[in-house]
């Protein structure tokens, strides 16, 4: 059961606002600043997803992915095995909308995915591996692990605010 499940019209221009917000925070406060904001978002705003992950249950996260990527018109697929949930995004609706607005994605733009996944998995039996495979394309993996270790993420381009 999703804690937040909006219906009705979409205001996709908020992806432009997101681009500006991450650029603003990233350029002034670095990746640590972004990490703090996304940690609060992942663990406090999405508290129910995070609490479920801490309990070893990824079902709300997978439902969140599926519901909102479908609602936004993404080209994506989710595959789940015993040890891993993988979302492959072939066309990201957020990047697509930025381009429609004539905007260039900030170097920090995909941190909303990378750092959110990282923070969701912090202190849980899961690890996040997010690979940006091209503009508007990525592979997001949530893996079960036996011991806590460091999150991993990879970016094709230089990271933001590093």
């Amino acid at each position: 059961m999703l804690r937040y499940r909006e219906t009705g019209e979409l205001h996709k221009d908020f992806h432009g606002s997101m681009n500006a917000a991450v650029e603003y925070v990233g350029s002034r406060y670095g990746r640590d600043g972004l990490r703090e904001v996304f940690r609060n978002t992942a663990q406090k705003v999405y508290r129910s997803i995070y609490e479920n992950l801490k309990a070893g249950d990824w079902s709300e996260l997978l439902e969140h992915w599926d519901y909102f990527m479908t609602r936004e018109g993404a080209d994506f697929a989710i595959e789940v095995t015993d040890g891993e949930a993988v979302m492959t995004v072939r066309r990201c609706p957020a990047v697509e909308h930025l381009r429609k607005l004539g905007m260039t994605p900030s170097e920090c733009f995909c941190d909303q995915t990378v750092l959110l996944n990282e923070a969701w998995c912090e202190g849980t039996p899961f690890e996040a591996v997010t690979e940006i495979t091209g503009e508007g394309r990525c592979v997001q993996k949530i893996r079960k692990r036996s011991t806590l270790n460091i999150q991993r993420s990879t970016l094709n381009a230089q990271g933001c605010g590093t």
Binding site: G16, A21, Y24, N40, T41, V45, Y46, F68, R71
Partner: protein
């Protein structure tokens, strides 16, 4: 990706983060947002005046699922927000709403309206209620824009 439906809950966390930094960091952010919004609004507002503003906010009312009325008069545009989904979502939020969440709206709107040659009486009404009222008029050297929390 943070869904566009849920951007405002992230925005709410950005406000908390910047407010904690102090030194006017949050107000500086509002000014930057206002400059960024010029891309979407300023040409329309300058070219079509109050009618252009009505067209912009009528679109926002639909896309953001607002319960809002924009009434164009000969000398002013009146906007009555009866259910603001932005504050509504910030409040329907396990992280809790930033206590001055409403301030971001006049924070970006007023500077942009000034550039379009207009002033605004912005009544937040109550920062815990998802309602507000705006009256936008052409600039008058005798009257400046103002922000108030009338409680009414």
């Amino acid at each position: 990706m943070i869904p566009s439906d849920q951007f405002v809950r992230f925005y709410n966390e950005v406000f908390k983060f910047l407010d904690a930094k102090g030194g006017g960091a949050l107000e500086a952010y509002y000014r930057t947002v206002s400059e960024q919004q010029e891309r979407h609004c300023l040409a329309l507002f300058k070219a079509e005046g109050l009618a252009g503003m009505k067209a912009y906010w009528d679109r926002i009312a639909v896309e953001e699922n607002c319960d809002m009325t924009c009434t164009l008069h000969a000398d002013r545009l009146e906007i009555v927000m009866r259910r603001c989904p932005s504050l509504g979502k910030a409040m329907d939020n396990d992280a809790g709403a930033f206590e001055r969440y409403c301030d971001h709206c006049p924070g970006w709107i007023l500077p942009l309206l000034a550039k379009a040659g207009c002033r605004c009486d912005y009544d937040i009404i109550d920062r815990t209620l998802p309602q507000c009222r705006l009256t936008i008029c052409p600039n008058d050297p005798q009257r400046a824009s103002r922000i108030r929390v009338s409680g009414l």
